[in-house]
Amino acid sequence: MFDLFARVFGREDASKEVAKERLRLVLVHDRSSLSPQALESLKNDLLQVISQYLDIDDQGFRVDFSRHDDAMALVANIPIKKKASRNL
C-alpha cells in the first residue's frame, strides 16, 4: 500500500530528482561562462569590499549560484563576527 501511495504521489528520493538538482547547478555554472577561478576571485573581491564595513567570518563565507524558479541568482552567505566588546 505504501508503495502504491509513494508511486502515485512521486517519491522525493527518486533518482531523477537528484539528477535534476545536479543538472540545475551544473548548468548554472556552464551557462554563466564564469570559470571556477573567476568565481574564486569574485569571492575574494567581495570579501575584501565587505570587510571594509563589517567584521566578517571568512571561514563561513560562501558564494554560489542557485536557481530561484526560472531565474539565476548569485547567493552570498556572509556570517558576521560578533563584536568582542558585547561578548563579555
Partner: protein, 266 residues
C-alpha cells in the same frame, strides 16, 4: 529550394546517426526527395546503418576537393528512389573540409532535394562547425541522462548564439518503466531544463539493434515503437500537427489516468 537540417547532440552515442537514417527514410517514404550527408569524417557510420556500405565509390571529401562530381558520389538507397546518401571519407579527418566548403556543398544539394539531413559528429570542435555551417535548422538529440542533457545544453547555447538554427529537441531512449518509478527524467523535466521546443520522443527499443544489424531503418518496420516515433517526427517536420508519441508501458494506463484525475504531474 529545400531545407537543410543538422542532427547534433554534443555527447557521443546518443542516437544522431540512428535519428538521421530514420527521419531520412520516413521523409522519403512520405514522397520527399531526401539526401543524407554523413559529416562524421573519419568515423563514418551512416552508410552501415542504411545498409549501403558496399556501394560507396566516392565520398564527401572527394566532392569538396573536386575529385568527384556530387552526382557521382551520391548513393541511391536500395528501398526508396528518392533517398540518397553522401558518405563521409573514412581515411581523412575533420580538417579535410572547411565550413565554407560545407556551406556551398549544402547549398548545391538544396537545389535538388526537399530535405538535406546532416549527421553531425560528436563534440563541439571543427566537425560540429562543419556540420552546422550549411544548415538552416538544428535537431538536438539527447537521452534522459545528466551528461547528455548537460552536453545538449552546451550545444543549444552554441546554436542559439548564431540565431539561425532554431534548435528543437528529440528525446531518445526513454524507458517508460524507469520514468514511472521516478528513476529517469521525463519529457517535461527535460524541456523545463533545456527550455527549447520539443520535436519528438523516441522510446528505447531493442528493435533498433536488429535494424542496425540488418542495415534497414526501423521506420520500415510497422511493429517497431521507435520506428513509429520517427514516422511521427517526420510528419511534424512536414508541418503536420500530429501529437507526440505516447511512451507508456503496455496496460498501465490506469495509474496514469488516476494521477491525471488527481491533478498530479507524472
Amino acid at each position: 529550394m529545400g531545407e537543410a537540417i543538422v542532427i547534433t547532440s554534443g555527447k557521443g552515442g546518443v542516437g544522431k546517426t540512428t535519428t538521421t537514417a530514420n527521419i531520412g527514410a520516413a521523409l522519403a517514404q512520405a514522397g520527399q526527395r531526401v539526401a543524407l550527408i554523413d559529416a562524421d569524417i573519419g568515423l563514418r557510420n551512416l552508410d552501415v546503418v542504411m545498409g549501403l556500405e558496399n556501394r560507396i565509390v566516392y565520398d564527401l571529401v572527394d566532392v569538396v576537393e573536386g575529385f568527384a562530381k556530387l552526382k557521382h558520389a551520391l548513393i541511391k538507397d536500395k528501398r526508396f528512389e528518392n533517398l540518397y546518401l553522401l558518405p563521409a571519407a573514412q581515411t581523412r579527418d575533420k580538417t579535410a573540409v572547411s565550413p565554407d566548403q560545407m556551406r556551398s556543398l549544402v547549398a548545391e544539394m538544396k537545389e535538388e532535394f526537399d530535405f538535406v539531413l546532416i549527421d553531425c559528429p560528436a563534440g563541439i570542435e571543427q566537425g560540429f562547425k562543419n556540420a552546422v555551417a550549411g544548415s538552416d535548422k538544428a535537431i538536438v538529440v539527447a537521452t534522459p541522462e545528466v551528461s547528455s542533457v548537460r552536453d545538449a545544453d552546451r550545444i543549444i547555447g552554441l546554436l542559439e548564439a548564431e540565431e539561425k538554427h532554431h534548435p528543437s529537441l528529440i528525446v531518445n531512449r526513454i524507458r517508460p518503466s524507469m520514468v514511472k518509478k521516478g528513476d529517469m527524467m521525463d519529457i517535461d523535466d527535460m524541456i523545463e531544463i533545456l527550455a527549447i521546443d520539443l520535436l519528438g520522443v523516441v522510446p528505447d527499443d531493442e528493435f533498433i539493434v536488429v535494424s542496425t544489424n540488418r542495415g534497414e531503418p526501423a521506420v520500415l518496420n510497422q511493429q517497431s515503437k521507435a520506428g513509429e516515433a520517427y514516422r511521427l517526427i517526420s510528419r511534424r517536420l512536414l508541418g503536420e500537427n500530429v501529437p507526440l508519441m505516447k511512451v507508456e508501458e503496455e496496460g498501465q494506463g490506469l495509474l496514469g489516468r488516476l494521477r491525471k484525475m488527481m491533478g498530479i504531474k507524472g
